[in-house]
Amino acid sequence: MGFDIENYVKEQAKSNIILFYKGNVDSDVINHVLDTVEDKMTEVNEQSKLRKKVYNVLVESLQNLYHHVDKVPDDFEDQSSEKYGVVVVQKVDTGYKIITGNFVHSDNIEKLEEKIKRINRSSQEEIKELYKFILNHQRISAKGGGGLGLVDIARKTGNKLDYSFKEYSDKYSFFYLNILVDEEVDAK
């Protein structure tokens, strides 16, 4: 199977999909996704602790897309989306899974992967210190991100960042981040 976003999503998230979106990730889309997921969680009376965690992590995932996606390849089917991204939210037994996907130019892969690996090598205590360090020392970038999104996701979920790069062409890959927000958050 070659490059197929929907197929990948179907493999990763088979059932209980609360939301699936692909296209331009602008401010209105972010609002809509947040409202939809928040309403769904309220509807099923999700406990507030998990609800808040999911909401927080979803905000960071969406805004990571908003601030950091690379532009779509010239031959990609959707040329109208300036900030093309994929968002999937799935209910799983222990909580919720949030999958995001976006194009990354091959020049930027190494840097992104290095950042994720650094987070994944760190203990929860180290992640907390890393968060505080970046908070206190790094300015907000030209793109508007604070450089804290992935660190915050790792800290709040207490889980490793599960990710993959699917090659699109020699210049572009599609980056998937597969985030589990579960109830076992006390076992940090």
Partner: protein
Amino acid sequence: MEPIIIEGTPKTPTVKFDASEGVFEIKGRSIPENSVEFYKPLVDWLDGYKETPLTKTVVNIRLEYFNTSSSKCILDVFKKLEAIHKAKNEVEVNWYYEEDDEDMLEAGEDYESIIRVPFKMIEIVE
């Protein structure tokens, strides 16, 4: 000084900065994409207040959600308060968090460990 009064929206907090009472409040959700745009006027206003602050300033932070981009801006707000405190004025930060919201408590503790201003962590019990 003219007070700052901003009504909250689903993505930005309610803000009340009143120089005549020395009570500042940020409340609600702070999750805008562009947080600098929202917070810059607040930080600038505090720069003015810093010149002639009251002997006691109380800051109430009662956030339900905030994103990482706001977290830097909130730190900038606290840095102004730290300068006021350093100039021998009393400053007190009340950091509210909802029962069970350990992430919000931890966020307050992060700031407490970075900023040299007395913090009070206050649990909201529903």
